[in-house]
Amino acid sequence: MPDVAELEKTATQEIAGAGSSAQLKDLEIKYLGKNGLLTGLMKQIGALPAEERKTFGQTVNDSKGRLQSLLDTRLDALKLNEREVQYEQERIDVTMPGMPVRMGREHVLQQATNKIKDVFSGLGFQYMESPDVEEFRYNFEALNYPPDHPAMDDQDTFYVTDDLLLRTQGTAIQGRVYEKVQSGEMTLPIRVFTVARCYRNEAVDRTHGHTFHQVDAFMIDEGISMAHLKGTLGLFAKAMFGGEAKVRFRPDFFPFVEPGVDYAISSPKLFDGKWVELGGAGLIHPNILEHYGIDVERWSGFAFGLGVERIPMLAYGVDDLRNFMENDLRFLEQFHG
């Protein structure tokens, strides 16, 4: 009968002496593989007497099991060791700089505009646009400006021709919208807003520019009041700046609203608790609605304006308006709103 114990002893010694997982793999094949030495002993089983066969088979299998378990344990230990070597060899300095990825970025005024669009859209206001080079009648006449109003002067407004000018206010869109109501293309009630580039012939300094951006929002429905204006502005301020905001009205004059106010907001957690004036507002002047055939006994509406530049100025403390249109990347790259 072949000496299983002797073979197992030799194998055990060799396994203990193996220095790498590769050597172990070789040993596994040498003893336990299909043609391995131990496996080979099994082939001799036929030469044994019948009564010994069972015991012999048992002995070989037990031996195989012990060797396999020995191999596995040893392999685990060696692998651990080898990985440790590998890890050390593959060590990198993770403090080296990462790949600089160029990320696209919207301009800070675009970011403010996007937020404004989100807020108004959520309030059911439809976004519309009108041209920069606007007709005199939409910019002034349709908005109840009396003839010879000072705002129409050459030194305040840029004229391209007698009838065309560079829009001075986002409100210029209103006449165009009311025409759609008049023609039936749109039907009351309506809620509309726009974001418009506006131009005024002003000297440029930290807080004034000849070009700026303005939001104009307006709605017409039955029974719209100054209280609705106040409520909507409060909601708008909350959505824009966060936190509960109070709204304050102060009488002011704009030809296209009556009553006309300028509005300020304040919130305990914002703007050092101070009132911040945001723009003009009021009920849409009945002269305008009547001009477009809207029954002012049934319908009324409010309108309000807001300077887009005011938003980042308030939110981030930008104190020089000129920064916005100079496109210095050192300025622009700070905003990720």
């Binding site: 970025r105 439809q126 004229y159 131009y199 100054m226 009488p251 004059f253 100079e326």
Partner: protein, 678 residues
Amino acid sequence: MKVPYTMLLDFVDTALTAEQAGDLLTMAGFELEGIDNVQGEAVLDIKVMSNRGDGLSVLGLAREILAKDAGSKPRELYTRAASRFPSSATSGQIPVSIETTDCSRYACRLFTNLTGASSPTWLQERVTKAGMRPISLLVDLTNYVMLEVGQPLHAFDFDKLHGGRIIVRKAADGEKIVTLDGEERKLSPFMMMICDADHPVAVAGVMGGQETEVSGSTKKMLLESAHFLNTSVRKTRNALGLSTEASYRFERSVDPEGVVAAINRFTELFIQCKGGDADATITDVYPTPARRAAIRLRLDRASLLLGMHISQDEALRYLTNLGFGCEKVDDKTLSATPPTWRPDVVREEDLIEELGRVHGYDLIPSELPHGATTQGGTSGYERWEDKVRDRVVRLGFTQTISHTLRDASPLDDPGTEKIGPRGVSDPEMMWLRSSTLSSLADAARRNGGKSLQLFELGQVFGSHGGTPFERTSLGFLVQGATSPEWWQSKSPATASFFALKGVIQSLADETLTHIDFQIPEHGDARLHPTRQADIYAPCGRIGVIGQIDPDVAEKAGIPPDTLLAEIDLNTAYASAQTEVHVRQIGRNPAVRRDLAFLIDKSTPFEKIQAAVMDSAGELLEDHWLFDVYEGKGVPEGKHSLAIALQLRKFGANLTDDEANRVRESVVQALASLGATPR
């Protein structure tokens, strides 16, 4: 307007401090811009709305305080001012003729035996505190009374008025006048003048003439108090470039009924200051006295629009305090006649504003509108434009927003006739940009030396046969390394025509149905003649792409390796991709076959690509050019191209044979273009 607080206290008996009075005026619409302390006294600086000329007087501001603050009471001076300073003067006979409808009233009074006395200290101090310079009793008093009641006055040296008469008329062509500031002014026929028998002696409502100015030696003074049309004064002031305290008030409208009252107030102060004698008569030419019609005011409507309840008694009190003639019509209606100093009030809503103002906007509650739900947000073109901008940002581009009003630029669109605002002399804002590329070039220069990927999306302008137009342009600028210098990238890729072309293609894949790039027919002079292409969509030519022309680059001050592209979004929208068409994806593995071949460099890749697509058939899922080589081993005039074919069959695995057959037919198709396999 600067108002010494003690002047307000002359009119109003109040416990309010200057600050409190200022805040109260602010909430009435007369914004307190600041309080100065001048010689120990508070001086309020009040901003008056352009439609509230009546607020440019102590009387007018006193009226607002009295209307809003129940604790304040009118003093005797206020009561007399409200009743127009009654006087015993009789009707005078100075010859005055009004020859223009721009003047609705002209009154004057003669003052004689002038003593030449100077202003008493109190008057000098008040005039100084109000921001004016004390000059002489006559001048200081005209200013002071204007401050008190808002009516501009003018003093003429009567002996210098030719013919001792006044004619109010428009200037004759070629007439001139030397105004008080010593300037000779050429007059235009629309300008209203005060004239004596021979020539103009004052620009009506703006400034007097030097010739008839009062001085220490003046013996007789004619005091003018008149009512001039606001638009006429504005136009003249504007044309002469001459703004004065008088013109400022006339432009904002002055009370036609306060004309004589101002003379009366002047007279009492003049006598009090011992300036001389006042003639017993006042000449007053007032052809058509101002009339105001009553306006119906429904209290229900007032409460509805204001969003707060105002009772009839409150309404009656508020309006009466503001000088409106007011009476009850029925339980819910008032009839209100606006005073002559309130030309801004013409309809019911104006009255409602008055009620809201006095009652207090603070009391308006905060409510949200109820009623029909409306659909908000963007749609149509605007929504697509938002998508385009979003995709450009995703492609790694930084957005610039630039002035549309600007100077001329080497990158102006050569195919556009430019427009700009009239009469602007500043070259920096003379033109409306015709291309976003001019803005991007400016931005590149400002950020000079960096590698840049910029875009601008905005309006550009021009003119077609004299008719101005505007459209929305999307411009791109790329220069320098496409990815920043970094220790792991050995040779960072730099901007090239093809880098930008890839960006445009990716953008188009997301936003347009299809685009292709074509060799331009005419060429864009801003771009390198042999490195530019027109961009076409199914709707037609939508833009251009190319490397900047070296001469243009030099003029614009940016590097010659700058790449530019511009797309007209309004045109491109006609080919906008707004729908998604889903096609089945194959679940069997794809097979790749590469082929490399030599071909003449003059053969456009467009042709090679067409041959590949035609010959490969429907098994071709994708293909791409992965190598271009010329040099050693490649004959002069040829280059070696390597193209990968990605093949896939639906529902079955592709066999090697099938894939090889596709490759073979592509090789044969390319051979007909002169290609030889490598």
